[in-house]
């Protein structure tokens, strides 16, 4: 094993870049920070396993299962991943408590994929002050791409704002005289989309947007809002809602016999857990954008990446509901971390971990759409920034147009 590795590294060193050179040098002398040893790498994570956002808990479970699979295959560079995940119940104070436990008591190397904008905002300052990586956070806020002020924080998924800008640009091009109504969730997620849409429309925002309607997550149903929006008679409805409310919106719009052009946030594009409950016949023609494959979409039946995903789920998460997009998300995010840890070689310091995370070049996890690739650099902390538009037809999404890159700089 070892001679082979040295050979390969030697080849790489001679071949290119300073980056590989440092990791090559690191191979010779093992370097560790707290949380990494010859046999183990400790990775911490927080997820809402209980409370109102418990639907996302599946992401943490998937990641746990993924690292179990990695360990069964011998680990990464001979080290096992010790994935420690705690419940923060989507409460920022609890997130702080749990992250401090991970850092100070469990002594993890890095905090990886913590979920939710409020929780991540709560821990960001603490982790950056302690110089502990807050790696691949599970939220699409734009602020995670800010290497200057927060060099220890990095996002993973495309930002909500950049996605909204893609929709805005598409509308300006295809439907310049659109009368737009926006339904958004009244929290950081919804407001980011709102801002992205307005920024994307630019000067035309005030003339094109005729209505902004918000709802609270605590509401049982958004039907009343849809009735109100319909009365204003817009011809485009932007749905910036989480899965349950998105499905309600699509269903209610159809029940009202109303047919605006509907554009749906990427968060709620699951065929199995949004489009099917909403009714396939109601969702025809809905537009959205995607960066990952849909686990329930038959067009990926023979896709090698999704085959691997299916094998993984069958073996490590038997009985799990495959329609859950969280499992595709968790798999992709976990694979990205595994890749970065592999790149770290034997230099498992926190600084090198961030450095390697910021050196991903055209990495394509199994679950991402063909053509969507992860790229990062010292100034670009937004790993996935490409999306492709899609239209719902029959029982699946049909991709159309080119892959669009939508980086938005953080303010």
């Amino acid at each position: 094993m070892l001679p082979g590795r040295t050979l390969r590294t030697a080849a790489l060193v001679t071949a290119t870049a300073v980056m590989t050179l440092t990791s090559g040098a690191a191979l010779a002398q093992k370097k560790y920070d707290t949380g990494a040893t010859d046999t183990e790498i400790k990775i911490g994570n927080i997820m809402p396993y209980s409370g109102p956002a418990s639907a996302y808990g599946i992401i943490g479970k998937t990641e746990e299962a993924y690292f179990k699979m990695i360990n069964d295959k011998g680990g990464i560079n001979g080290r096992k991943i010790n994935f420690i995940t705690y419940d923060d119940a989507y409460s920022p104070p609890k997130a702080v408590e749990q992250v401090r436990k991970l850092v100070e008591s469990d002594e993890v190397l890095a905090v990886y994929n913590p979920l939710g904008t409020p929780s991540n905002t709560a821990i960001q300052k603490y982790l950056n002050a302690k110089k502990i990586p807050q790696l691949f956070v599970a939220t699409g806020a734009t602020k995670w791409n800010d290497p200057k002020n927060f060099p220890w924080t990095m996002g993973w998924q495309p930002s909500y704002q950049s996605e909204a800008q893609i929709y805005a640009k598409w509308l300006m091009k295809e439907k310049p005289d659109a009368k737009i109504a926006i339904l958004y969730q009244n929290d950081d997620f919804g407001k980011d989309y709102l801002k992205g849409t307005k920024d994307g429309l630019g000067a035309k925002a005030s003339s094109m947007i005729m209505m902004e309607e918000s709802y609270e997550v605590s509401e049982p149903s958004v039907d009343g809002h849809i009735v109100k929006i319909k009365a204003a008679n817009p011809d485009v409805l932007l749905i910036y809602a989480t899965p349950k409310f998105a499905a309600q919106t699509i269903k209610k719009t159809a029940e009202l016999g109303w047919k605006p052009l509907q554009i749906l946030t990427n968060v709620s594009i699951s065929v199995g857990s949004v489009m099917k409950p909403a009714g396939f016949e109601n969702g025809q023609g809905v537009l959205s954008a995607a960066y990952a494959k849909d686990s329930t979409d038959p067009q990926w039946n023979n896709d090698p990446g999704m085959k691997k995903w299916n094998e993984f789920v069958d073996k490590y998460m038997p009985g799990a509901d495959k329609t859950d997009t969280g499992m595709v998300y968790g798999y992709g995010a976990a694979q990205t971390l595994a890749k970065v840890l592999e790149m770290c070689g034997d230099d498992l310091t926190r600084a090198n971990l961030m450095k390697q995370a910021a050196s991903l070049k055209d990495f394509a996890p199994d679950t991402l759409l063909p053509g969507v690739k992860i790229n990062t650099s010292a100034t670009d902390f937004a790993p996935i920034s490409q999306l492709q538009m899609q239209r719902f037809k029959g029982e699946k999404w049909e991709l159309f147009g080119e892959i669009i890159s939508g980086d938005v700089a953080s303010e």
Binding site: S50, A55, S221, V227, Q248, G257, V274, K276
Partner: protein
């Protein structure tokens, strides 16, 4: 004007959801004299049972009846096993028990059925009702079932021996025992009936809000509000309260400028509290005279 009528109709449609839940709330209040915070979760669990039965191929009405029986028996079992031992404990301890039950049911449902939303069928269809697209046949059916339940409950509590005994046991347990009523079993029966009514509410609500473990979280707040507004001692009041809350909320969201939409729930609740300040027993509740 059209928007106004539309919002009233939409309010009635969502109000039907609250009315259903409020009826279950009143039912348990009649039996045990306080509110059960786990009521929504019990209803959710029942609804999942019926969904599971349908997945296994049981037709809708079969699943409906089995679920009803299951919920009735389950409600009695919960009372006998979990709450009877707490009968002598302080009320606040009982409330803590409800919260514990809430946590247990919610977490178990999440583990068994996952958190993704499930489509739930309706026996009434979802075509426009009487030409109005604002109320679908399902919502009309829901209102119909709620009214039927209400009439049934009215007769049950006014004219049947057992209904009268239950009321007596809840309002004056000491005296009820003296006239030979088994108050302990009356409470259990109340739990069973409340669970059964809750399961009907759940099965009617699920097609609108979709089935998932957290589906009742929001509904329960409105259900409580509706029941309290109408008067906890009056099933009729609870139903009226449900519709009123639905309408209030929609009108506040539409017509109060600026904050109306963002704050429609707080505004609706504030309005209810104002009503309570004027009529402390709710719109249709009996006022209880306090004695030293």
């Amino acid at each position: 004007m059209e928007l106004f009528t539309n919002q009233i109709l939409a309010g009635i449609a969502t109000g039907a959801i609250y009315a259903c839940m409020a009826l279950a709330v009143v039912m348990i209040y009649q039996a045990i004299d306080h509110l059960n915070f786990a009521q929504g979760e019990m209803a959710m669990f029942s609804t999942f049972i019926s969904w599971q039965l349908m997945q296994w191929g049981v037709p809708y009405w079969g699943a409906f009846v089995i679920t009803l029986v299951f919920s009735f028996v389950g409600g009695i079992a919960i009372e006998r096993i979990l709450f009877k031992p707490l009968a002598k404990a302080p009320v606040l301890t009982n409330v803590a028990g409800f919260i514990a039950l809430f946590a247990i049911i919610n977490s178990s449902a999440g583990l068994i059925w996952d958190f993704t939303i499930k489509q739930y069928p309706t026996p009434f269809g979802s075509a426009p009702f009487l030409g109005s697209q604002l109320i679908s046949t399902h919502q009309a059916g829901m209102i119909g079932v709620t009214v039927l339940l209400l009439i049934g409950l009215y007769f049950f509590f006014q004219y049947t021996r057992i209904g009268l005994a239950m009321r007596a046991a809840a309002s004056l347990p000491e005296s009820a025992r003296l006239v030979g009523i088994n108050t302990s079993w009356m409470i259990a029966l109340g739990w069973g009936m409340a669970a059964a009514i809750g399961s009907i509410a759940g099965m009617l609500i699920a097609p609108v809000v979709f089935l998932e473990p957290n589906m009742m979280g929001g509904v329960l707040i409105y259900g409580f509000a509706a029941a309290v507004l109408g008067g906890l001692s009056s099933p009729f009041g609870a139903v009226v309260g449900g519709f009123l809350v639905g309408i209030f909320e929609n009108l506040a969201g539409t017509y109060i400028p600026g904050v109306g939409n963002e704050l429609k729930l707080p505004i609706a609740l504030a309005l209810i509290i104002s009503v309570l300040v004027v009529k402390p027993a709710g719109l249709f509740g009996r006022h209880i005279v306090k004695r030293v």
